[in-house]
Amino acid sequence: MSGGRNDVTARRGASRRLPLGNWERALLVLLVLLTLGLVAAVPGFYPGFGDFLALSENFLPFGLVALGLTTVILTGGIDLSVGTTASLAAIVMAELWTGLHLSIWIAALLGVASGALLGLVNGLIITRLRTEPLIATLATSFIYGSIATALAGDNPPSGFPDSFNRLGTGAIGGILPYQIVLFGVLAAFFSALISRSAFGRKVVMIGYNTEAARYAGIRVDRIVTLSYVISGTTAALAGIVLAAYYSAVRPDMGSILLLSTITTVVLGGVSIFGGDGSIAGVVIAVLLLGMLRQGMLIAGFSDMVTTMVTGAILLGAIALKNLFAGRGTGLATLLRRLRIRPAATT
């Protein structure tokens, strides 16, 4: 251990200024290569700047869910109810709009609020009843889904005002989609929340070591509950955006969100055990998976093949990450030694 005793500060080099670790940087390189490759190889992938940006409207709702879900996963929990929360929130909005003749925007706000409430229910079940997050949110996902189906009835409302639909498909000046603006703002907010706020610090501490957090006087239950409220809120927001995108709601519209979003968060480098991970990684993973899927679909692959490739990428990414992180087998440790030593001497 070298280093001064009395004038120690952070050794914040250039790499420390960028909030990107090795994993995030590798993802970013992959994203750039993939995008360039798709532009070059797939005709119709880049029809023009505006249309290229509009591709993101197909996958950014996943990104919204991922931001909130990341918060939960960082505490070491999981929220399996994000899909049905999104559906239920969208249907609550639609029913308030048709049933009570509320303005669509007021209804949308109330829809988001209902998502927060559903998240609060999850959080309270988990912290008060000491239930495993996996079980608790699996159970509530069924309940929320059934309520959504019941509320929707046979003919769920559709045909929202154009001003609202623009949230899903419109773009500022015909170039910059509203979805990108919304996602960009929220991504910046979450990045600051997780890495710079006291709340985020507590989330990470709980994820790394719940007991140590408790012994440091952190109100673990409160922070954990809040993380589910956040997850419910972003899931509801995604539901609202999807409703605007389709200009319709269906009780099963959120069901595609869950597994893809977990994939994204994990690919983004967030440890499923909690603590480790960054919003930057998740944002890059959202773009990476989204671009890949869009590219493959445009190239004419079926949804089935695309989904299969997504699964393979997830497996490959996690295997790589575990190898380099030294988790798992002895081979991993060996690889890590080979990798770390030269780096440590520089």
């Binding site: 251990m1 070298s2 280093g3 005793r5 009395n6 004038d7 120690v8 500060t9 952070a10 050794r11 914040r12 420390r16 600051a192 710079r196 706020s197 006291a198 610090r201 507590k202 990470v204 501490m205 790394y208 070591n209 007991e211 140590a212 957090a213 408790r214 012994y215 440091a216 006087g217 952190i218 109100r219 603590g275 480790d276």
Partner: protein, 515 residues
């Protein structure tokens, strides 16, 4: 493995010698070249304080731990044990203090794990033979335990006895007991001893660990006293001498431990604990802590000292009694409020409770009170956090490359200093330090003692929990001895000597076993 069983079982001898055993964990020596010799038909007791190396010695002898040096001989044949399984093959069995039987299996099943008897061409498990043989082994020990009962329904005493029967089933002739009596009631100890005497009568070689003086004198044929990883005394019946054993255990050299010539203790009460209870760990605990005072809590592991600290700190429910800090009651308040009122607790287990090892030094230091870091627009100012971290690093002399180094990369001593920095940076009125030098190497210990003393001088009232007498004698103005959740003695000033301290709870432990 019927062949092995027969072979080991037929051996009439069973003299087991360990010679010049050396073992160290990292740079910390645990066993410094010691030798013991166990003989058939005799019960050999190993005594010593916490950390003397007794358990490590037994683990070496049972193949659980590989020594760095030294040899093992069974009946004069050299022995290399690379696993507990190999030890079993040679007829050596270690009964752990709290046996890890498989909770969902029946008693008979756990006894035959790894060697289920089979029958027929398809090697079906022979349940009836298994039950019969299990029954037989338990009967041989005079034990009345249902072989069909689920293991988790057994008491610790019964689990130990089942382990003992397992040793017999495997044909083992040398049975080592790792401190079996400390979790047992008096009655259960009697049962265990009658089992041990029965085995001794049948010519088995038995060894056990204890620091309850009365039971040791009662059952042993040979006694070895360990201190700091070395053998300091070895006696055979009838030359037992209680006083001599006690002083050997505590150590001659310890009489010359330098005590501080000064004291910063005042008479101003900061923390008053009255009639505190948390069933079943402790009851009727009451004491007063004064500004600038260093008060020690002495006792055996499991005496309830950590539980007392955790209850004061709001981590455990308080069944009865009150805690008053600076004139205001804090009984039953949540931990975060207690910290803000100026009482902090550095737990015993750093990796699990005290620190977040994957996080950086600065983050660990600020974790004590995150709100302490300056914020702008709700965002923590990283430079301010670094400053707080760097302050702790320089004040508590943490050796590190930078405040953004993760705690995992630091030595135990430096980790502990970071934990200190985290709490002491708040200038608390009261600091409870649970085993402050656990896992800390000798050089860093002195540094930590100096840091504690400096903090006391600055006016903090300090409560030190330690299982190392030397540490308490060196640090404390006053010491309370805890035995089984109750305060049994108080020593202060010149009355604090290692001998008196040792006797204050060890003799009590002895009386406890005899009662």
């Amino acid at each position: 493995m019927p062949g092995t069983v027969a072979q080991a079982g037929s051996a009439s001898s069973g003299t087991y010698r360990a010679s010049d055993i050396v073992k160290s964990y990292g740079s910390v020596p645990v066993l410094k070249g010691l030798s013991v010799s166990l003989h058939p038909g005799r019960i050999h007791t190993t005594m010593g304080e916490n950390g003397a190396g007794k358990s490590t010695l037994f683990k070496v002898m049972a193949g659980l731990v590989q020594p760095n040096g030294g040899t093992l001989h069974l009946d004069d044949a050299p022995l290399l044990l690379s696993s507990p399984h190999e030890a079993h093959l040679h007829g050596i069995y270690l009964v752990p203090q709290e046996p890890a039987l498989m909770p969902e299996l029946t008693v008979a099943e756990t006894m035959f794990v790894g060697q289920l008897p089979t029958t027929g061409r398809w090697r079906r498990i022979d349940w009836s033979a298994m039950r019969a043989r299990a029954q037989e082994a338990l009967h041989a020990l005079g034990l009345d335990i249902d072989v069909d009962a689920q293991s988790r329904r057994l008491s610790i005493a019964q689990q130990q006895q089942v382990e003992c029967a397992k040793a017999l089933l495997r044909g083992c002739r040398v049975i080592l007991f790792d401190e079996p009596t400390s979790p047992l009631t008096t009655h259960e100890v009697d049962r265990l001893f009658s089992t041990m005497r029965r085995l001794r009568g049948e010519g088995y070689t038995l060894a056990f660990i204890s620091h309850r003086m009365d039971e040791v004198l009662d059952i042993s044929d040979d006694i070895s006293v360990l201190r700091d990883g070395a053998l300091v005394d070895s006696v055979e019946r009838p030359e037992f001498d209680r006083t001599r054993l006690l002083s050997q255990m505590v150590g001659r050299e310890m009489r010359t431990i330098p005590r501080r010539s000064w004291s910063s203790a005042t008479t101003e009460a900061v923390l008053t604990v009255d009639g505190l209870a948390h069933a079943p760990s402790f009851a009727e605990v009451g004491f007063t802590l004064h500004r600038g005072e260093i008060l020690g809590l002495a006792g055996l592991v499991g005496a309830g000292r950590t539980e007392i600290a955790e209850t004061i700190f709001g981590l455990r429910r308080c069944d009865a009694g009150s805690v008053v800090l600076d004139g205001a009651p804090i009984t039953g308040l949540p931990t975060h409020e207690i910290i803000r009122k100026g009482l902090v607790y550095a737990p015993e287990d750093r990796a699990r409770h005290g620190a977040v090892l994957p996080m950086t030094i600065a983050q660990n230091v600020s974790a004590g009170l995150i709100e302490r870091v300056r914020r702008r627009w709700g965002l923590m100012d990283r430079d301010d956090e670094d400053r707080i971290g760097a302050e702790a690093v320089s004040q508590y002399r943490v050796r590190c490359a930078g405040t953004d180094q993760t705690l995992r990369e630091l030595s135990g001593g430096n980790q502990q200093k970071v934990v200190f920095g985290k709490w002491m940076g708040l200038s608390p009125a009261v600091a409870i330090l649970d085993e402050p030098t656990r896992g800390v190497d000798v050089g860093a210990k002195d540094e930590i003692y100096e840091l504690i003393e400096a903090r006391a001088r600055a006016g903090t009232a300090i409560l030190v929990i330690s299982s190392e007498m030397e540490e308490l004698v060196r640090l404390c103005d006053r010491i309370l001895s805890i035995y089984e959740g109750r305060i049994v003695a108080e020593l202060h000033g010149d009355g604090i000597t290692p001998e008196r301290l040792g006797r204050s709870y060890l003799s009590h432990a002895g009386l406890g076993a005899a009662a």
